[in-house]
Amino acid sequence: MQAKTSDRLLGLFLILLGVLFFVSIIPWQAQAADYGWLKPRTLPRILAVVLGLCGLALLIRPPGDARPGRFYWARAMLFAGVLVLGLAAMSWLGFVLVAPPMALLLMWLAHERRPLWLLLGAAGMPAAIWFTVAVLLDRPLP
C-alpha cells in the first residue's frame, strides 16, 4: 500500500516535471528554429511528453516496487552535506587542506572511533592521493 502511494507520488511528480519542461524550461533553454528536420526543441519536448505519460501510467497503475522508506534519508543528506561543504571549501582552500578534515568527518560520522584507522583515513589516504596525482602523474589536484 505504502509502496503504491510512493509510486503514485512519483507519477504526480513526473507529470509536473513533464509539464514544467514542456511549457517553461524547453522554450526558455532551447532555441526555436524554423528549418531542419529535427529542431532543437523537438526531442526534448517528446521526452517531456513521455515523462508526463509515464507519470500518468504510474498514477493509474502503480507497480508498487518503490521503497523510499527503506532509505536513511537524513543520514544520507548529512553525508551529502559534508561533500557539498567539502567542495565549497576546496574552491577556497584546495584539496590538500580540505581532504584530511573532510575524510576525518566522514569517518567519524560513520562511527569509526579507532585512532589508527582515523589517522590512516585522514592523513595516510590524502597523502597517498597527493603523491600519486601531484607527484607521480604530475597533474594538478582540485
Binding site: Q31, L43, D65, P68, F71, W73, A76, L87, H111, W117
Partner: protein, 501 residues
Amino acid sequence: MPELSVILAGFGDALAPINLLFILFGVALGQFVGAVPGIGPVMATAIAIPFTFGMDPLTGIAFLVGVNKGGLVGGAIPAVLLNTPGTPDAAATALDGYPLAKQGKPLKATKMALFSSITGDTFSDIVLITVSAPMAILALRMGPVEVLGLMLLAFAVIAGLMGQSLVKGVVAIALGLMAAMVGTDPEHGSPRLIFGNYELYDGLPLASVAIGMLAISELLKRLSETRGTVRPAITLPRNQPRADRSVSWAEYWGCRFTMLRGAVIGTILGALPGIGSTAAAFMSYASARQASKEPESFGKGSLHGIAASESANSSVMGANMIPMLTLGIPGSVSAALIISAFMIHGIQPGPFLFSQQGQLVYGLFGAMIIANLINLWVGQLGLRFWVRVVSAPEPFIFASALLMCFVGVALASGGLFGIGVMLVFALLAYVMSAFGISVVVFIIAFFLGPRLEISLSQTLALLNGQPQKLLDYPFALVLMALALVTAVALARRRDTESETR
C-alpha cells in the same frame, strides 16, 4: 578484416612491459576492491578512468580491463567468506561457496571460484576475438536508418530487462536522454538546457555523471546505513590438509561441463545488451542443478555450484565487448565505462574501430588474454591476502573512495564544476534507486542519447518527409519491428509477472 601484420602488431603491443605492468596493477587493484563489499569493480573502474589520462590509450584501457577482470574474481571472496557478495553477480556463488567455507574449506571454495572465473572469462574472450571482426564488417554496411533501428532495439531490450517495471524503465530512458540533450544541438549548433553554464556547451561530462550515479550514490547509501557495528574479521583455519585448501585437477576437470555450460550461457547473455552477469550466474546455476545427478548437493557446498556461477558471470565481461566494439553499444555499465575511457582517449568505438584502430583493438584483445593469465597468477598468490581485505573498516574504505572520486572527476572534467555535477547526479541516483528507477538504464541512455539524436536527424533528412522511403531500408525495418516486438513482449511478461505476484 585487419591484416595479419596489424593483428600481430596489436598482440605485440600488449606484451610491452609498461602494458604488462599496468595490467598487473589493474588486476591486483580489481581483486583488492572486488573483495571489499560495497566497492566492486564497476565503482573501481569508474574511479580509475580519470587516472588513465596520462597513459597511452592501450595502456589505460588494458589497465581498466584488468581492474574489471580482477574485480570479478575479487567479488567472489566476500561472497564465499561472509555470505556478502562484493558484487551482485557473485550472489549465486555465495549459495554454495559460503556453505563450503562454513565446512572449514574457505580456500578451496575461493580457489574453485578463481579457476572457474578464469575459465569462463577466457572462453568468452576467445569468442570475442573470433566473432567481433566479422560482426564489425556487417555493422559497417549499416547507414543512419539502420543505426536508428539498432538504437531503438537496444533501448527496447535495455528498458525491459533492467528496470523493475517497464514504465520505470522508460522513465529512466527518458531522464537519461533528457540529460543527454544538455549541450549543443547537433543539427543546428545552438546551446540547449545549459542554464548559462558555458562549461556545458559540450554536454554534461560523462565521467561526472557516471561516477556520481554509480559510485557516489552507492557510497552515500552505504555510509547512511552504517550503525557503528564492527564486522567480524575472517579467521582462516590453520594446519588444514592440502585436499581441504586446494582444488585438485580431478575436481576441476570433473566440473568441465558445468563450466562450459556456464561460459556459453554467460557469453550468449553478455552479447545481448542489458542482461548483465547476475542473470547469467543464476541461470547457469539453475541449469547446472537441473543437469546434475546430485541436485540435492547444491546449496550445501557443491563445487559444481561455484563453478556454474563463476564461469557464467565472468564470461559476460568478454561478451559485453562484442556490441561495444562492433556497434558502439555498451552491453553493461562496465562496458559503458570502458567506452567512456575510449572516448577520453579520442577513440570512437563502433564498426570503424577495426579499420581505423585495428592495432589498438587487437592490442586490447591481447591484453584481455594476458589479464586472464595474470588474474590466475595474482589470485593464486593473493587469495590469503585478499581475504583479510574484507575485514577493513567500511568508514575508512568509503571515505577513501569518496576522496578518490573527487580527485578523479576533477582530473577528468578539468575542475570543481565537474565535481558539482557529480554530486548533483549522485543525489538524483539516490532518489531514483529509492523509487525503483534503474540508474544503469539512465546511464546507458545518457551515453547513447547523442547518437540516437544524430541518427534520427540523418534518417529524417534521408526520408525527406516520405515515410514510404523506409521500405528502401529492409534491414532497418526488421530492426524496428524487432524493437516493437521486444517492447510488447516485455510489457506482456511484466503484466503476467505482476498478476502472478
